[in-house]
């Protein structure tokens, strides 16, 4: 069975919500939609206090090349455009809308009917994806239209669809592959047309045999798409690791996947692309997994963007007494939340509730030079070395040790028997090196 060649760990999977079908979360009373939800330049709000908005109406426009539009996920009245606490714990501008009914924009096709014919041209597909605010739903929220615009002199050969979901606990992509497979397949074909490639591989880890079987059945209907069952290994969902696992090609340091002729998109993105191109529906909702060992009803919910995390928790049976940490995203790469009254955004793949004993950090001890972190690093780095350089503020050495290649998967810290805060220091080092590089390019 295929997997990536260097490094990797296998944390306990804990996928409690794998059997829970996607449920639509009822409309909240109020949503707070952050204006900056994707990588790149922040968008600009185009509504003001008191405006009536419909579902799917543009409320913030991204004008730069790497930016995306933000649409209203509900219908109602704009209460205010203000700064609110977002998932980072800092206050950022957002549009706050009081919900009133559920009136959709007329251009959106809300029928359940499957539209298989792709009528738009390559350029129109890219334009539509940009307009509809589609971003990478794997977590990095990179605007999808940018991925489809291949730089001059390069050529895409193959599209890789990421259905790996290597993070423990999360099951959103798994459920999507089971329940919305047809739509997803058409979405993949749209992406293939946009990229002008005739081959696509869906990479799925073999801890999801039902999804693999289901997709394999459908493959006959959709030409050019094949399924690759992959050995369970974290961080297989990383772009470079997935290309290595599926194609056996290594993306060079500091380069993008297009260098080896591949473009990677998430299954969630493929589904959103289908809805945007075939149904004219912007990215206004996404599947979010809510789970935790002591949560009453772990599940997968279709959530409107801007809904408070708190409502999701209430729906899943309320915040358990013993919760010590709430994490947005997966347990390996996710981020602890400062508060639960923060909005769900395009990049929110899951909300995890951890108990005290799961959340607590172990007191770090001295490095015992076992080199386990070096063995597990999927990028072939030396985490302990980079961390020590960063700790001692030797940032030029941090850069020389290729710290900027680090994908922050956390395998090193997970595996460290001395519980060294390796990733923390590597992140610090990367942050400082980033500053140094920016200063250098200014000169």
């Amino acid at each position: 069975m295929k997997t990536f060649k260097i490094g990797g760990v296998h944390p306990a999977e804990n996928k409690f919500s794998a059997d829970q079908a996607i449920e639509v979360l009822e409309l909240p009373k109020q949503v707070a939609i952050p204006i900056a939800q994707s990588l790149g330049a922040p968008s600009k709000a185009v509504v003001k206090k008191g405006d009536e908005v419909k579902v799917g109406q543009v409320i913030a426009k991204g004008e730069a090349f790497i930016s995306s539009n933000i649409h209203s996920s509900v219908s109602g009245k704009v209460l205010k455009v203000d700064e609110i606490m977002d998932q980072s714990g800092y206050r950022r501008p957002a549009v706050i809308i009081t919900v009133n009914g559920d009136e959709w924009d007329e251009s959106i096709d809300r029928s359940e009917e499957l539209k298989t014919d792709i009528n738009l041209s390559k350029e129109d597909i890219i334009k539509r994806i940009h307009e509809m605010g589609i971003v990478g739903l794997g977590g990095a929220t990179f605007p999808s239209h940018v991925k489809l615009m291949i730089p001059d002199g390069k050529k895409a050969e193959i599209l890789i669809i990421n259905g790996v979901e290597c993070e423990p606990y999360l099951t959103a992509d798994h459920r999507l592959m089971l329940e919305k497979a047809d739509e997803m397949m058409i979405g993949i074909q749209i992406l293939m047309k946009g990229l002008e490639v005739d081959k696509a591989i869906i990479g799925v880890e073999n801890n999801k045999p039902d999804a693999i079987a289901h997709l394999k059945n459908l493959c006959a209907k959709y030409s050019g798409i094949s399924i690759e069952a992959l050995k369970v290994q974290y961080p297989q969902g990383g772009e470079k690791q997935l290309i290595d696992a599926c194609l056996g090609r290594q993306v060079p340091s500091g380069k993008l996947p297009i260098e080896v002729g591949a473009v990677v998109n998430n299954v969630g993105t493929a589904f959103a692309v289908y809805e945007a191109v075939q149904k004219n529906k912007p990215l206004i909702e996404r599947v979010v997994t809510i789970t935790g060992k002591s949560l009453k009803q772990p599940g997968n919910y279709m959530v409107r963007i801007g809904t408070s995390v708190n409502e999701l928790i209430e729906k899943a049976g309320g915040l358990p007494e013993d919760t010590a940490k709430v994490v947005s995203g997966g347990p390996m790469m996710g981020k602890a939340l400062n508060a639960v009254d923060v909005p769900v955004v395009k990049g929110t793949s899951g909300i995890l509730l951890f108990k005290e004993e799961e959340a607590r950090r172990v007191e770090p001890t001295n490095c015992i030079r076992c080199a386990k972190c070096i063995t597990v690093c999927p990028m072939g780095l030396e985490p302990i070395l980079i961390a020590q350089y960063a700790e001692n503020e030797m940032f030029e050495n941090v850069e020389n040790e290729r710290a900027m290649d680090c994908i922050e998967c956390g395998s090193c810290q997970y595996t460290c028997p001395a519980a060294r805060p390796l990733l923390d220091y590597i992140r610090l080092g990367k942050f400082k090196v980033g500053q140094i590089i920016r200063n250098r390019s200014k000169k």
Binding site: R91, A336, N338, P421, D424, Y425, R427, L428
Partner: protein
């Protein structure tokens, strides 16, 4: 036998002489001409090598100083914060110049978000460095501008002039601070500022850098600056500016009148090293000089003196006249 010794001595002397001549010319050719003043200036500097002047150590500063003096005939803009005016005067004298007097400065912590004022809402259990905590979240109190309390400033200080207060969780600057600016650079939130020490070490500053609106700022911290502009309006010297919901006191313009301190509704403006505030006593004393209280304060002092001297009867009511009488009696007894 003697011949051998003579040959050896003579040949070695010749080799030595030849080598000396060669070395002399080489030394002349590759001579490094260094201004002897550099050594003199370096000698005058405090040898702290803290980098507070902006140069790599005291030697680097001395070199830059001498270079500037030779080229521009001025040492304007150079300052050794550790040595202060005395050191700069000595250095300038060596170079035949006069140093401009500079107000001594000190580091000031512009955050009062102690554990009491800004209660902990979330627990941060990552590595105890502010640089990392700042990258990760808005901090334990939720204030995105406030002190993170991990002590990067303490680590940065070469002079043991700053320590973390265990109770408040905030850093405290000691009087031996030399204003080298190491902590200012170390703080990822730019909380620490170098300000003029002020007369008798008295300083007034806004102990908050939160630029949020009043509501959210107050939610996280009781003593946050809420940008109400009250201090701005009351300041008679135009020393206060309002920017992004935040007041800032210009230490060059501030005359230490303390009006803003009283006016601030959240006590965000701090005064340091002033005598204990005696609003009720001070105000009447200036307006009504013949109030009972100041007089009553003077009398007991004199009474003590008297009792030490001759133990007269302290029965008489305490008044100015009585004390005068006592003093007279004291003098007479001495005589």
């Amino acid at each position: 036998m003697n011949d051998v010794i003579i040959y050896a001595v003579v040949s070695l002397s010749l080799i030595g002489a030849a080598a000396a001549i060669v070395l002399y010319f080489v030394a002349q050719k590759f001579k490094v001409i260094e201004d002897p003043k550099i050594d003199e200036v370096e000698e005058a500097l405090p040898a702290a090598n803290c980098g507070g002047c902006g140069f790599p150590g005291c030697r680097g500063f001395a070199e830059a100083l001498v270079k500037s003096a030779n080229e521009k005939q001025s040492i304007e803009g150079f300052n050794c914060p550790v040595g202060g005016n005395d050191t700069m005067a000595v250095s300038a004298a060596i170079l035949g110049l006069v140093a401009e007097e500079k107000e001594p400065q000190i580091a000031v912590i512009r955050c009062s978000g102690s554990r009491e004022n800004a209660p902990v809402k979330i627990n941060y259990d990552g590595p105890a460095t502010c640089a990392f905590a700042h990258n990760l979240s808005s901090g334990e109190s939720g204030c995105p501008y406030g002190c993170l309390g991990c002590g990067d400033c303490v680590t940065a200080c070469d002079f043991d002039a700053i320590y973390m207060d265990e109770i408040t969780g905030l850093p405290v600057v000691k009087d031996n601070c030399v204003a080298c600016g190491a902590c200012v650079t170390a703080c990822p939130r730019d909380i620490i500022e170098l300000r003029n020490k002020g007369k008798k070490d008295r300083r007034i500053f806004v102990s908050c850098i939160n630029e949020e609106k009043g509501g959210p700022a107050k939610k996280n911290c009781k003593v946050a600056c809420i940008g109400c502009s009250k201090c701005f309006k009351i300041c008679p010297f135009d020393a206060i500016t309002m920017n992004n919901n935040l007041a800032y006191i210009d230490y060059e313009k501030c005359k230490l009148c303390r009006k803003c301190v009283v006016e601030c509704p959240t006590s965000a403006i701090h005064e340091l090293n002033f005598p204990p505030r005696k609003e009720k006593k001070e105000k009447p004393s200036s307006t009504k000089a013949t109030d009972g209280k100041p007089a009553a304060k003077e009398v007991p002092k004199k009474e003590v003196k008297v009792t030490e001297g001759a133990k007269p009867a302290v029965e008489k009511p305490s008044s100015a006249k009585a004390s005068e009488d006592k003093e007279e009696s004291k003098e007479t007894k001495k005589e």
